[in-house]
Amino acid sequence: MNATRTIVRQEIRLAFRERLAVALLVVFLGMTLASAAIGWSSHHTVMSVYQETVLQLGRDVPNPFASAPALEVVTNTIIYIVLIGALLAVVVGVRAGVRDRRSGVTDLVLSRPIGVRSYAAGKLLGVQAWMGVVLAAALAVSWLSVWLISRSPLGVADTGALVVFFALAWIFLLPFSVMGLIAGTRSRHESTALLAPLLIWVAITFAIPQLGTAQNPTAMLNPVPSAASTTDIFFKVNHAIFQPISITEHFKHMSGVIMRLPDIASTAWVGDVLSLTLVAAFSVGVLLLTTRTSLRRPLYE
């Protein structure tokens, strides 16, 4: 346990010294802030559009935003976690996996009284602790920006919802950190280590969901997930096959439930949690199968 703790501490310290990881952290926090600013600006505009419409029509129409949830202004954060958060997790994971091999330290570490599993687990915990720092910072930024926008602090229930949302994001990002780590500890080339998890992410986010929903790829950029849009057997079968691994769709749906977004069926969240947890657990299982031989493979740029 001590050795694992040492690796965890080392990984966090190194992540803070890695310029790229810090740059991505800044980008992520910047986008969280931007998400709030965009949310505020569009909300403000839509309310004005509504008032202008009522004025021009000269008749009363129901305000579509009357019952908008407090967290609606930060819904874009969902999509930034899917896009930037996942890329951040992959890059930090790959760098953590590759670092010791590149500097020739792997043999040295393995010559110490520490098992390969403790080493891999330590690396993962380190990367995920770093992701925890990133998400905690994003949580603080989101909370403060909602306060600034609505001019009153979030209540306990909404604060709780925001915390649960970022905790869910931590679980959602775990398989991406693991993919990065696995690729980083196994690939012969550093570039392949970066590309392999990235292509899997592109497939999970953009290619797989369309097979079950007939949605176009840019529809995947909508924070609200796409539902199975047809009763056709082709889509029904695909939906059944691919739904469990469409983790981005599960994450988006579950986030919608947590944030109480309109038009989100709040009943089907058990499947989301199950799918996200199983994929995370499976990926950790695969990581723990890492062997000394794979860690000691030579690494080329």
């Binding site: 190194l14 010294r17 590149r102 330290v105 043999d107 040295l108 010559s111 009284p113 520490i114 000691r296």
Partner: protein, 246 residues
Amino acid sequence: MRAAIRTNGLTKRYNGKAGEPALADLSLEVPEGEVFGLLGHNGAGKTTTVSILTTLLDPTAGSAEVQGADVGKSSAKVRRSIGYLPENVEFYDSLSLEENLVFFARLSGLSRPRERIREVLSFLDFEGHEKERLSTFSKGMRQRVGIAQAILHKPSVLFLDEPTSGLDPAGVKLLRDIIVRLNSELGMTIFMNTHLLAEVTKTCTSIGVLRAGRLIYHDSLERTLRSFPAQDSLEEIYLHIEASGA
């Protein structure tokens, strides 16, 4: 004298590689307190031998013990008793000397390593750089970092893989002096892979020669130099042994 390292019929065949094994039937004993130099051409099996002895590789056949512990069955015990400096290791550039050493000390089981780090740096005459990042270090300084991390936990056996590779003459001399002091003052057994025969003459007490995975020669340096009166230097002796097979 008790054997610090003992191998018996040690063989390594890499997956998917047909033909001759990388290491064949190596039986060897290195007594405690020796500085043993393992010599051989590129690809002779030197790094494979060190990798097995440091528990990084599993042998295909045979057995090996370090300080009486089997490298396969008691690998954790072996790792606690050894220090290791691989070839061309670069460490963590973004960390300071102290941060690098604290990391390796903790991995070696030291819970409060700072006092020990000061001792080791003083022994290596390397004080005053603790807060500097490794990115500013020369190759020679990095090699001293390597030795420092390898002896932090007071190992009884030290494995060095081509320790003088890439060093300038001043760096080579400094490292040679350190190796001699580690052996004479701290009593460490040292197992060293090297190409530089001039260093072997100045540091080793015994040598072994590997050719194509087989140990073809093993004796004390003193006896070796006496047994080949026709050869002027260890270099000529080595080339003679390599060519003739004994």
